[in-house]
Amino acid sequence: MKKWIAGAALALAAMAGSAFAEGHGSYPERPIMLMVSYGAGGATDFQARIVTMTAGNKDALGMPIAILNRSGAGGRVGWNWFATEAEGDGYTLGAYNIPHFIAQSIEGGVSYSADSFEPIANWGADPAVFVVGADSTFNSMADVVAYAKENPGGLTFSGAGLFVGHHIAALQLEKAAGVKLAYIPNNAGGAGAMRAVIAGQVLGGVNNLSDAYRAQAAGNVKILGVFDVQRNEAFLPDVPTMMEQGFDIDNASVNFRGVMVPKGTPQDIIDHLAATVPTMFENKRVQSRMAAGGSPMHIMTRDEVLDMWAARQVTLETLLAGL
């Protein structure tokens, strides 16, 4: 028995050794895990499940991707874990949300920054929009700002939390319009913030384009402006951007979602993933499911994402410096 165990241990060691010697030629050899730092059913989780559903195909990674939810504290729990404990072996991927994690790292108190992660590819971009209740007297951003000028600090509007895209959009609006506003972060995320608008608990709100589009279709809200550099032609071609309405606001609050790996993952694995993952996002089935779910897609390669991260870091540092 002892001999048998020793033999098995030797064989195992030999196998491990040879696998190591071969490098990562046959990567991936087993199913891959994708950590999502938000709960099951949220927009990020929902989209991550769709964009990874074809991972097992021969023309993609050839191995399925399983979603693992590590939610809490606006994503901080999941990203903390990803930066400090996740193994950089290519079998542990993570979903990122920009500007959330960069803004949180600037705010402090977390053990990650943009340097802790290596982006692979971006799958979606969900701009923030300004919504008001369907029966609101506001019909444009000018009305909203006029009210805020008459009642400094009295314009209540909801958003998904602090140091997330919605909060960034709120800060940008405050700065561009030169007024003081009352941003009310909601503990129940975007859905809770939307409910506050529909129920009339607040005068307006910043919310995700995809959710606002559905709420507008249901006749519950009016969408007054998009916090992006151009209009969203696919879903809201008639809603003007903030820039068009005379506010100097760029796309810093747009919620970019994509896949990353921890720092320290071997370069050849990163290259392999960076080459395959964008094609996986381009799959017809993925595209049609995403469109059906009202989720705007925006595929970017690793190099494009690296540039985007660097640009956001600079913008957010100046924007959050005053807080």
Partner: protein, 509 residues
Amino acid sequence: MEFLFYMGDVFSPVNFGLLVLGTVGGLILGATPGLSPTMAVALLIPFTFQLEPQQGLILLGAAYTSTVAGGAVSAILLKIPGAPANIATTLDGHKMATKGEGAKALQVSFLASAIGGVFGVLLLIFLTPVLAQWALAFGPSHLFWLAILGVTVIGTLDSSSVVKGLLSGCIGLWLATIGFDDIMGAQRFIFHPAVSGGINVIPALIGLFAIPQVITMFTKGRTKDTAEVITVKKHPIRFAFIEIFKRKTALVIGTLTGSIIGLIPGVGGQIAGLVAYDQSRKFSRESEKFGTGHSEGVIAAESANNAMVGPSLVPLLTLSIPGSPTAAVLLGGLLIHGIFPGPDLFMNYPQVAWTFIDSMLIGQILMCIFGLYIAGLAARVAQVPRAVMASIVLGLALFGSYSVQHSMGDVYVMATLGIAMYFLERFGFSAAPLVLGLILGPIAEANFIQGSMIATATIGVGVYFFTGWLNWLLICIVTASIGYSIWMEVMMRRYTTKDEAIAKEEALS
């Protein structure tokens, strides 16, 4: 009566097969500690990719309904609530099981679940437009008062004294503050990375309820004769029907409380069972029997947590806003098939919407049938030797708390809280008020902060929290609830003799 028109679709072979599959699967998932309804539905979503929208929803709806009821199985037999919704069921259910009435408790619980559940779905069918407005009426100030109402229940819930109940409630409220706070993102009491996300309710629930049980089972297995086995009295289903109609008050209070609380977004099923349990005790003529293995306790708790299922979908189906975590997962399941819920859902996709609702109605009845069948089998769990049972429960506890988010941190939290609870129980403290504190803390806090932020920007804190009929109604109920507790405590003190007090202390140790 449109729902009758689409009733036939539920019985097509594929649909009905999926309904049965979802119901049986849901009962098993629900009975596993740690697999909450939200988790069960989330696990099933990938399977619906390949199905028609209608079929996918039938599967999800059936699973949602039956996991809520399935949680009662482990609550009654093992004193481990399958999900937060089943906490109140443990209070009397497990006492019944130790008295040998496990079969009766399970039968009564499934019947009460089905009756509450059917009522909830009927509300969803007939009153959706009215209820949607009601669901929106609850703003931060109202949710704050509602959470305070929950806190008043803490003192009188399953403890040897009000003071001990309040103390364990306070421990729960403190535990709830650990982690990044929900609104500001401030860090509080993060002494170990495992708690940076706060104390997750599911692992806490498993630890607080299961671990003291396990330790007790092990210690008793060593000192006492292991051959001592709990008998299971046979209990014909006919008697369960008679029992449940004899306990009308509990059934009515449970069903109504569950339906009303289910509607309120963000509070949901977690506290429906507990509030219903407390209310039916206050209205019962045999209130002193609660906590000793009284079937009214099980009936109230289980009818409430299933009655909440139907109304909890109202905000989702009419306003496209998920009112509970499970509803949020269901929203994902709808969107993936390109169906946007909203007021025109019933016009654009009547077949999908009505078949879904019908399947929940039929699902309640199927759940009851299967539940009654397994009640006879499952009650025999009590006959398993203690040492074996303890090992199985310990295994399930580890599995359940790890599986929530694949984190060893949650397992440590579960173990620590469990061991601490074992010693607290020696001193007459109880797990139920502690968990209630843990659940209500964040609701009260977040809504108070949000409410006061809105208030300071507009009309002032005092005006915001103390005007409007809904605020005052809730404040009055809170006052009445506190007053009743004080009165009961005073009466108890007046009539308790020294011998009774000593006997009570001895029963606990």
